[in-house]
């Protein structure tokens, strides 16, 4: 990448995380694909089928990162989504997700080891999932139905016009 390319590189990354053949677990991937279809020039859009340290490799060098992923909470309704800041996940730093360390731990690792390359802001778009155990390319109806409004919210909140 040339210096010129580097200067013009988008400063925001939107990354959809999930498994696209595991029902609602893939909602982050499906949102990312919809965003990519919009041809947005001011953000980069990536898909990530894993999380943890793989995410760390991906976010380095960006100013702002928006992570779109499935979530399951006790009282959540499928398709409902929350826009959260990194601090919301501090208590899960020691939780178990793919390959031993989860997203929050990976980000904390990055801030310890390569703080100068880490994004200043990390947001999560957490979408309530209904089914994350059945192998299927299709999401459940309430989650699939929520995708347009999720995309609209992400564009309005995180995609600048310049």
């Amino acid at each position: 990448m040339s210096v010129s390319d580097e200067l013009h590189r988008p400063r925001t990354l939107i990354v959809g995380i999930g498994n696209p053949i595991l029902s609602d677990d893939g909602v982050g991937i499906h949102v990312a694909r919809k965003l990519r279809d919009l041809g947005l020039e001011s953000v980069d859009v990536e898909e990530l089928p894993a999380s943890g340290l793989e995410l760390l490799d991906m976010v380095l060098g960006y100013d702002r990162v928006v992570i779109v992923d499935a979530i399951v909470t006790d009282e959540g309704r499928p398709g409902e989504f929350h826009v959260l800041e990194e601090s919301a996940f501090e208590r899960t730093v020691h939780g178990s997700t793919p390959h031993g360390i989860n997203i929050a731990t990976a980000l904390a690792m990055g801030r310890k080891i390569v703080p100068e390359k880490m994004p200043k802001e990390v947001f999560f778009v957490a979408i309530e999932a209904e089914d994350i155990v059945n192998v299927s390319e299709s999401m459940t109806p309430p989650v699939a139905a929520a995708i347009p409004s999720i995309v609209t919210r992400i564009v309005s909140e995180f995609v600048s016009d310049d």
Binding site: I17, I21, L53, V93, H99, M109
Partner: protein, 504 residues
């Protein structure tokens, strides 16, 4: 830094059932349930994993050439292993022989996977127990605590070399996490000289990091008498089982290709079999309380969760591989293998290493071997040839096996004449280890929890008994919030819950 915390204070519990859910630092959401008897000793313990439903149905009717892309989505942890096993299965289905270039590129790609996976396991999952201590507070006993203890510079080296493993997979395999280069009889992507040179440089660095990791294992683990005591604790971490793993024609360990060798409790070869023969060797037992089957050696039979020659339970993964092989083809891994062999011999062990926690030592030896093998392949001119695709025939049925970092991985597909999948069967590494993991959990729980005396450190030591297998349960499920790291449900003898304790 202060020294590692080996033991903590226990408290007396009057409960009858302890549940560890989900297991900390483990792919997926497993659960351990420990049942106590009236005296507060362990009556039994169970390791349970969640179910992933409908995968077979999802694959039937699809073109078999899609399966290397689909099966690798079973898991966010070992997609490369599924991709390689699946591609080798396509070789068998299409009766195809990959070219030398294709074989070496697949092997090189796979060494990238091993470097990445073994670094991640050792530093993120195993090191917290050894650097900080098994009884360190759970909010410190993680990779962030390890970085605090060993320093940011070493943490940076961990990140860098794990990412080199990923980069090699990306260069050769098209994508790092979900590769897409495997075809029957070959690979879809040629390598440029610039890419080869880049991989050579990364491999050289990984070899140095492998040396560092072995030294760290000696300095931190083996030099610490408390840890050595844990590793050698035959009450908690010792199973005399059969072992299974892949070897080359000289019985040297091989991760990518070869025959599968099985040895008995004394190290004597029981059988060496080709992939197509696996159904003659392995049978699967079903327990009503477990979604995951329990494979065992057909010739020996299922004898419950017992060990010894009359129980068909076998172990795979680093410990299985190191026990079935007669060394390594690369010098540094071979040298450390000899150190291990001499060490256990000096302790009076004559056959295989049955000490469960020796998984970790075997894993760092394998990290070294993978890095050395990566360099061998990255400096082989044939990998930049354009001869990447061999001949193939009409599709029929076939089996492919490779050694996933976690152990022997078997794929088996049948196809109709148009290439559409009519049958699929897989035995994944953690399933191969399932019965042994359960047996290890029961053993550790019985040895460590007595008279109702329980502590977080003790429960973590129970977890260590299976964490060293590096079990991978989720097969892809990974919702963002995960779940609490460690939850202990205390229940009465009738199963009703008395209270819940979390470790953070």
């Amino acid at each position: 830094m202060s020294g590692p915390i080996i033991n903590d204070t226990t408290t007396k519990t009057t409960e009858k059932k302890l549940t560890i859910d989900p297991i900390t630092r483990l792919e997926g959401h497993g659960k351990i349930e420990i049942f106590l008897n009236d005296e507060g000793n362990v009556a039994n313990a169970y390791w349970q994993v969640p179910e992933l439903r409908g995968f077979e149905r999802f694959c039937i009717g699809r073109h078999v050439q899609e399966l290397p892309i689909i099966t690798n989505r079973l898991c966010g942890v070992c997609p490369a292993a599924h991709h390689i096993a699946s591609t080798k299965t396509l070789d068998a289905v299409f009766d195809a022989t990959p070219t030398e270039t294709a074989t070496k590129l697949r092997d090189l790609f796979y060494m990238g996977q091993y470097v990445h996976s073994h670094i991640a396991h050792f530093y993120a999952l195993a090191a917290p127990d050894f650097v900080l201590g098994p009884s360190a507070p759970s909010n410190k006993r993680n990779i962030l605590g390890v970085v605090d203890a060993v320093g940011v510079e070493i943490g940076g080296e961990v990140i860098k070399h794990r990412s080199y493993g990923q980069k090699v997979q990306e260069i050769v395999g098209g994508r790092a996490t979900h590769p897409c280069f495997g075809l029957p009889g070959g690979v879809s992507k040629q390598i440029s000289e610039e890419e080869r040179a880049q991989m050579e440089e990364m491999a050289r660095s990984c070899i140095e990091f492998g040396k560092f990791t072995i030294k760290l294992f000696h300095d931190v683990v083996l030099a610490n008498q408390d840890y050595l005591g844990l590793i050698l604790n035959q009450d908690a971490y010792y199973l005399e089982t059969y072992y299974m793993g892949m070897v080359d024609k000289d019985n040297k360990s091989n991760f990518y290709d070869g025959d599968v060798r099985v040895v008995d409790q004394a190290g004597k070869e029981v059988v060496k079999f080709k992939p197509s023969e696996y159904l003659d060797i392995i049978a699967e037992h079903v327990e009503p309380w477990s979604y995951m089957k329990m494979p065992y050696l057909k010739s020996v039979g299922w004898n419950g969760f017992t060990t010894g020659p009359s129980s068909g339970i076998y172990r795979v993964g680093p410990l299985g591989r190191i026990n079935v092989c007669e060394g390594y083809t690369t010098p540094l891994a071979q040298a450390e293998y000899e150190v291990l062999a001499k060490t256990v011999k000096d302790l009076g062990v004559t056959g295989p290493v049955h000490h469960t926690l020796a998984f970790h030592w075997a894993r760092v030896i394998e990290l070294q071997h993978a890095a050395e093998r990566m360099l061998e392949l990255a400096t082989d001119d044939v990998i930049t040839s354009d001869d990447t695709r061999g001949e193939f025939k009409e599709p029929t049925e076939g089996v492919g096996i490779c050694e996933a970092p976690r152990g022997t991985l078997i794929h088996h597909y049948a196809s109709d004449k148009d290439g559409l999948c009519t049958k699929i069967n897989m035995i994944v590494a953690t399933t191969n280890n399932n019965a042994a993991i359960n047996t290890s959990v029961v053993q550790a729980a019985k040895a460590l929890i007595q008279n109702g005396e329980v502590s977080q450190g003790l429960l973590n030591k129970v977890e260590m008994a299976f964490r060293c297998y590096d079990p991978c349960n989720s097969c892809g499920t990974h919702a963002l919030n995960g779940s609490p790291a460690l939850e202990i449900n205390v229940r009465r003898a009738d199963g009703s819950k008395l209270k819940t304790v979390r470790n953070f």
